[in-house]
Symmetry: C2
Subunit: 227 residues, 2 copies
Amino acid sequence: MPVRALVFDVFGTLVDWRTGIAQAFASSGLDGDPSELADDWRKRYVPILAEVNEQKRPWGNFDELHFVTLDDLLRDRGLEASDDTRRGLVAAWHALDPWPDVRDGLEQLRGSHVLATLSNGHVAMLVDLARHGDLRFDCVLSAELVRAYKPDPAVYLMGATLLTLDPAEVMLVAAHPWDLKGARSAGMRSALVRRPLEYGPGSPERDDPDADHVVDDLPELAARLRV
Amino acid sequence: MPVRALVFDVFGTLVDWRTGIAQAFASSGLDGDPSELADDWRKRYVPILAEVNEQKRPWGNFDELHFVTLDDLLRDRGLEASDDTRRGLVAAWHALDPWPDVRDGLEQLRGSHVLATLSNGHVAMLVDLARHGDLRFDCVLSAELVRAYKPDPAVYLMGATLLTLDPAEVMLVAAHPWDLKGARSAGMRSALVRRPLEYGPGSPERDDPDADHVVDDLPELAARLRV
């Protein structure tokens, strides 16, 4: 079955959250190394999504969850921040720059494939990120539409259903093997984009022997799909 | 409250369904005047959507409903069509040309406002239409996401909710007063685009004294919103 649509993870895969969030911490005046604060905040992401999927916590969108994890981080580090500072930090997740290959890479891929986000970020946040980075998608699909977070199969299946495609006609493009594994479990194809700077210099190398493609950037994926 | 997002009706407002569907009938070889067949098919649209909203008929997307109304039309006219012909006619709704002002008009509006579809067409169909006409939206919102059809308030409210806006910050742009009225009932702003050729030459003139704006095309709306 040919791949008709490419659906994209966003944070880490298309946008560089660490640089943007570290800049926001640097501007905030909060004590601590800005990159380390960014990493600390981000590492609280998978556990809180799991709480939602396990119904230990009611559905909340990324802004709501970011407020919770930010407050946890501040408390754990004995830091205090004004409401304005907290709001500014949460808003910074809406204005992250894309990796340098992304804008042109999407344009190359859009000629031959339907392109959609398939992110745990909520629709409004994805709209903000796409506008900020001038990224063009054919549609914005989000975990919000099923109120469950990846890797819950409902998210991947929603993507295929709304595009009226068989999951095997849809390829998830992501930088995280756990996400690609979730997509494959739902019957989708998968492509890993290595993002060696996601966690800064010295990020752990990633591979995924089960992925259809492992590439360094989106133009490389476009070349592979043209073969 | 300033208008932050413009949401667009699609059939009749952005794309010229009548010309495209008449061409599809002309190519089909079915007996009858192609434009009259197109009008006949289209007029079966509001009643079948009402059946879904009144729960007299289970949810069906536009392809499914178009098959039903096409078969009704063929039976009423004593016409027979092969499955291929029927599929071709239903598919024609995915490849309708935009009105001449739409592509550039959207580009003018997108600088200052978030742009989304808010159509009764399903997501995959809207993606096809946007790709066909090279129309750029920030996201594709569809009645499909709430499984109810405009003018059910749930559709309009979903649009505002997913954009994380107050309904008063969202303006529906549509060619049909019944749709604008539905948007206003949900608390949205409204703009009528006159489309004097929607039903061909001699279409009834439309006005909406309750709309915030009544314009001839999207560039005129862009000019109004810049004032």
